[in-house]
């Protein structure tokens, strides 16, 4: 159900407190509902020509599939951990639902805070759809709220929940932790992080024309049309290996990417203009070394691995860094902190993946995946297995 701004504080608080109901046993009933819901979201997406909704339905279908794989291997009984309170980020229109879906599947009652930046009507329409599919009983146990009393309700929800999930930057997470104390058993935070890609120059040079184009297309997909907005987008791209024509190969890669961006639909231009504004806003403050190219409004810098530690977060958000590394040791020695995903040339060299993770030791990222899979949903996110984390196992 959706608690909108018009609802009185006491009434809203009552709803939230009554939400601390029993969690359900993890079973296939919720899966059936989720399949129905995925289909309804897909229909709505097609009807409204809404790509965000379509992406959500794809996510939901994938979740169902991965849940099946996980669940069929289990002989134990699982229950939801309890009321789960979600505080999703405010710049992604459907983020509340991405956070809610796995928790619902795990058998939890949920309270989802909706950022005031999001469109009430848009969210409300989707919550209505959910209520219709999951039914009135489940509906009452899954509350989405967007209220002028958001502060008070967040305090209440933080007190009554058993699990709290917060998405956002480190500073946001720290503000939430200090402003809204919780006695939740688990206070799960997914901070904004960065990711790395390693392209072996030898492997790249061996790819034929089609292979190179495919790799570039996948790279663009990982970067969300070169915006690098996802935590798992490759913010740093190391070019590994020693080859006399290495720089030319880097330029070849960029040339292909810029061609693909140039040919993309006009509507995608908003990504480029946004990039360009961020880029120029950053440049206003100070001059930098000359970029090797401007692609989709982003300046591309080709730097030595030694320069990696001097890149600031602001620079990282506005520009793209291609890093020259002759040897693996250079990567290991300059590996940025808190990297979430490492993507490698596709098909992935597993031996290399193991070797580099051995060398990185505790700095190994949470995921090592082929280029093109960075945005793919996994039940394992930032090292946390959603279903294992959001459920409790009964020992018999």
């Amino acid at each position: 159900m959706f608690i909108k701004s018009s609802i009185d504080l006491n009434e809203a608080a009552e709803y939230l407190q009554s939400n601390c109901l029993k969690s359900s046993r993890v079973n296939l009933e919720r899966i059936d509902k989720l399949v129905k819901l995925s289909n309804s979201i897909k229909d709505l997406a097609v009807y409204q020509k809404d790509s965000d909704l379509l992406a959500l339905s794809v996510f939901s279908f994938e979740l169902v599939e991965q849940f099946h794989t996980w669940f069929k291997e289990k002989s134990q009984i699982y229950f939801g951990k309890g009321t789960t309170f979600h505080i999703p980020s405010g710049n992604i229109p459907l983020m509340p639902f991405y956070s809610w879906l796995p928790s619902y599947l795990a058998g939890n009652p949920n309270i989802v805070r909706i950022s005031r930046r999001l469109d009430d009507t848009y969210i409300g329409r989707l919550v209505d759809l959910i209520d219709k599919v999951i039914g009135p009983i489940d509906g009452k146990m899954n509350i989405f709220y967007s209220s002028k009393y958001s502060e008070q309700l967040t305090l209440i929800a933080s007190k009554v929940c058993k699990v709290r999930i917060v998405w956002g930057s480190y500073s946001t997470i720290s503000t939430i932790r200090s402003k809204y104390p919780t006695e939740a058993v688990i206070d799960l935070c997914f901070p904004t992080r960065h990711s790395v890609s390693i392209i072996d120059v030898g492997n790249y040079s061996e790819l034929d024309n089609t292979g190179r184009n495919l790799l570039c297309r996948r790279y663009i997909d990982d970067t969300i049309q070169f915006t690098f907005k996802a935590c798992s987008s490759p913010h740093y791209t190391y070019w590994l290996g020693r080859k006399s024509e290495k720089y030319l190969l880097v330029l070849d890669f960029l040339e292909r990417i810029s061609g693909m961006i140039a040919r993309s639909e006009t509507e995608m231009g908003v990504m480029s203009t946004n990039n360009f504004l961020d880029n120029q806003s950053n440049l206003l403050q100070r001059t930098k070394c000359k970029p090797i190219q401007l692609i989709a409004g982003k300046s591309i810098y080709y730097i030595s691995s030694k320069e990696v530690p001097s890149i600031s977060k602001e620079q990282m958000d506005c520009h793209v860094y291609f890093i020259n590394a002759d040897y693996e040791e250079e990567i290991v020695n300059t590996w940025p902190s808190d990297i979430q995903t490492l993507s490698l040339i596709n098909p992935m060299d597993y031996d290399f993946a193991v070797k580099i993770s051995n060398k990185l030791g505790s700095k190994t990222p949470d995921r090592i995946i082929p280029i093109g899979h960075a945005l793919k949903f996994s039940l394992l996110w930032d090292g946390q297995h959603f279903l294992e984390t959001l459920t409790r196992q009964v020992f018999i």
Binding site: S115, K229, T266, N279, Q285, S299
Partner: protein, 339 residues
């Protein structure tokens, strides 16, 4: 180069001026490695219009108090462009506007047409800043005689002024924002069954097409209703922006917007390469007027098509184009703040 050498020479000098006088502009040009382009490809130097929303970009040492601050439309201060125009820039803008209107519309500026504004009376800002809407109303006022607001404070038709307009025997310049002209003027006249004599009237309208598009009213439909309510009226749309005040592009009698000696336009793809005539893309707008701020070459978020140069069927020179709309402000998925 697709426009006269004179135009690009002027643009070069303007780039050079701003490069020397505006540190922010210089930092951007150097940071992008574009300084060699000032001489060789001046049309390939541009900054994003959004920079004026978050930064104070000034290319003069003059005291800020000597300048007028133009504010674009927007709901909050952070979403409005801040454009600082000094006296010289304002004079150039005013002269250019006069020349463009004189060249494009059949107006006799010597006898100065009576000036009607299809809007409500606009209060002057206490802060000294000039809102884009009011700046435009004031800008066009120098072309006409007097200033009469056709709507009252509540946005209703001012019957007294409307009666004056009906009885006009002199030439009239009527100006308004597209959606206001449509919703609060034409549509109301249509509903009331009132017809005006448009024989001596030029109706110039612009801006606000986004709002009108949300009502599903294309330009052709607008013109159709205008000529049914005001038969024989010369109705013209224009394209312009607060950052490039003065150098507007006015629609020709064949329905195309035209550049002129003060401005130009380039359509770019998503990687900012120039597109061919006839291709849809992102609009870069160039103006030779801004001197006190670096607004001479701007990448907008408008989508347009430029069909050609100097060969429009109307016979008017310049590039001729259509503006199709604005890039949608889709929210890019990513990890960010909760609030």
């Amino acid at each position: 180069m697709d426009t006269s050498n004179y135009f690009y020479d002027e643009l070069k000098s303007l780039h050079q001026w701003h490069y020397e006088k505006c540190e922010g502009f210089r930092n951007i040009i150097d940071g992008l490695g574009w300084s060699p382009l000032i001489d060789s490809q001046p049309e390939n130097i541009f900054i994003h219009t959004g920079l004026f929303k978050t930064n104070k970009l000034i290319s003069t040492n003059k005291d800020e108090r000597e300048m007028i601050l133009f504010l674009s439309s927007g709901t909050s201060s952070s979403s409005r462009s801040h454009v600082y125009a000094d006296r010289y820039t304002r004079i150039d803008q005013q002269r250019a506007l006069k020349k463009i209107v004189l060249d494009d519309l059949d107006l006799n500026l010597l006898s100065r047409p009576n000036y009607y504004v299809i809007d409500r009376p606009y209060p002057e800002s206490n802060s000294g800043a000039l809102d884009a809407r009011y700046a435009a109303i004031r800008g066009f006022s120098s072309l006409g005689r007097g200033i009469r607001f056709v709507l009252d404070e509540n946005g209703d038709l001012n019957e007294e002024v409307l009666e004056e307009l009906r009885c006009e025997t002199k030439q009239v310049l009527a100006f308004g924002f597209t959606y206001t002209v449509y919703l609060d003027f034409l549509k109301k006249l249509l509903d009331l069954g009132i017809k005006l004599n448009g024989k001596n009237m030029v109706l110039l309208h612009g801006g606000g097409w986004k709002k009108l598009a949300s009502y599903g009213i294309p330009n052709k439909e607008f013109n159709k209703i205008a000529s049914s309510v005001i038969p024989n009226v010369v109705c013209r749309n224009y394209y312009g922006m607060i950052e490039q005040t003065g150098s507007i592009s006015i629609e020709c009698n064949k329905g195309y917007l035209h550049t002129n000696q003060y401005n130009s336009l380039i359509i770019r793809d998503n990687n900012f390469n120039k597109k061919n005539f006839g291709d849809e893309g992102i609009v870069q707008s160039i103006s030779l007027l801004p001197k006190s701020y670096p607004g001479q070459s701007l990448l907008t978020e408008d989508i347009g098509i430029c069909y050609g140069e100097d060969d429009c069927i109307c016979g008017k020179p310049g590039k001729y184009f259509h503006i199709l709309g604005r890039l949608k402000k889709t929210i890019v998925r990513g990890c960010s703040d909760v609030y």
